[in-house]
Amino acid sequence: MTLHLVLPVALPLAGAILCLAFYRVARVQRAIALSSCAGLVLYLAGVLWPLLNGAGYATLRIGNWPAPYGIVLAVDLLSAIMLSLAAVVGLAVLVYALAWFRREPEEPLLYPLYLILLMGLNGAFLTGDVFNLYVFFEIMLVSSFGLMALGGERGQIEGTIKYLAISQLSSALFLLGAGLLYGLAGTLNMADLARKLAASGATPYTAIAALLFLGAFGIKAAVFPLFFWLPASYHTAKTPVTAILGGLLTKVGIYALCRLYTLLFPVHWAAQRSLFLGIAALTMVVGVLGAVAQGDIKRLLSFHIISQIGYLIMGLGLSSTLAMAATLYFMVHIVLVKTGLFLIAGIAEQVTGTTDLYAMGGLLRRRPFLACLFLITAMSLAGLPPLSGFYAKLGLVIAGLQSQEYWVVAVALGVSMLTLFSMVKIWTQAFMKKATTAAGAKEQLRPGLYVAAVGLAALALVAAVGAGPIYGVAQRASQQLFDSSAYLVAVLGR
């Protein structure tokens, strides 16, 4: 047992509580939020990863209740990868938000909600219990409603209501699935469920449960045909909020699918391969076509979230260890790059005062460094070698060819071309084109904006240079997922 495993939940919660206690003192709130996010990164790098490199798993029984009865927190490499992404991106976006909200005074609830969102994310990655996963999803959802509506403008409230309505549907599907599983097996501990479901074999009921989870997490992850809420709501929020939601929140759905399908429904996973691949192809194509048609930079990037989710679903659908490793590498790549792009779009918004691509312009001349930063990140998203997107897509393509699913590989490559096209659209409209408005006095941007964006772009470059070692970790994580017996022993103790 690892007593400190509760820290990724307790630390942001403690930060949120202190922020609430100091809700009138913005300076103290900022210091608290920054130190809890930094503490999280230090904990993961200094304590959790060394532990996992040796043991492979870490567990904690909450309240000292034995495994199938109480809630167990269980960390394997997949959880650790997701926790680290959440911590790093959480810190970067926080640094960005600290600088962003100097211009417009922040709401006293911004930092508490932000920290509670991180707590929900971490909890979802940690827990080994289906109902507990539901609870942490709700925590994430409730705090993201609050974050989206901050500012209280008409468009924001409208976007939040759409998001709220569709999220409730997704939660209802999730609960139905969990209820069905509980009725079937009499337990909600994931490891215990895995054992009981494997013993009873695949039945129509387990297939229905699997599909209910696919629907629930499909909505959260914004896959075709359940994606329409995302471009209708994400772009209305303030840019730092859009960045954290767009970069991380949809990926939690993919994480949950990875976890539940590998552990609970391995049989249905293979059987539903064509369903997964069909969804993946349609998600990629619809997402990128939507992106190409957009004229607003934040909306364009929101549509790209959808098309990139398609790649992750494709890797999941191919259901081989190589495909899973490629999916995990893709996850690392996309979280860093996508969040980075949102941050860069936010800087462009502050410089030009608009998010409309056709009204932007002249950024190459006015902000050459920003242009350089955008070029690296955008080409990474499009998948040009030698950037991280290239290795991510290369892994998926090789896995697709090995599984002889040639058509989905062809779709993935075609979508890559369109991704490149839409990135070039941003480049020509916002950066290359002559400024449509006369450049005003050069406005001073806070360095925090650049620090965060450069940090994420640098990490994406590190992911490209270190593609070998990262693929190594992803491969080990993927083997853990495919051979769940060690996970069962780690959680249940036998």
Partner: protein
């Protein structure tokens, strides 16, 4: 719509309702009750004053902003979980002490009670924040 009957009854009911809410809170460990319903009853007692008099009277009774009840309650709940780490047990492991009461009997107090007290404050604070703000619109 303030009536003399309502104001008189509200003043008389206030201590009874607050005592009832504390009773529900402490009873909640083994029997129906607990922090959530206790907090609701206590909030109802204060909302009754708001209906009978006005929001200013209700706010005066709180002697502080309902805002601060949120970190207080959440903090108590978190500390009740973290306390177990002091004696090397996992998060949220409970521990009890028996307080002998005068005239025989004993009161079992444990960390779950502290957690419930946290829930009580959070519920009280949230309900009051919502209702008082709506009442002032």
């Amino acid at each position: 719509m303030s009536s003399l009957i309502l104001r008189t009854v509200a003043r008389l009911l206030l201590p009874i309702l607050v005592l009832l809410s504390l009773f529900l809170l402490l009873r909640g460990h083994n029997l129906p009750g607990g922090g959530f319903v206790g907090g609701l009853v206590c909030a109802a007692a204060i909302i009754l004053q708001m209906v009978a008099y006005d929001t200013a009277t209700a706010r005066r009774m709180l002697r502080g902003s309902p805002w601060l009840l949120l970190p207080l309650g959440l903090g108590l709940a978190l500390l009740s979980g973290l306390a177990a780490l002091l004696w090397g047990q996992p998060f949220m492991t409970s521990r009890f002490v028996s307080v002998p009461l005068p005239g025989g009997g004993a009161l079992d107090l444990g960390l779950p009670t502290v957690f419930d007290l946290g829930v009580y404050f959070v519920v009280l604070g949230t309900v009051l924040l919502v209702v008082l703000n709506l009442g002032e619109e």
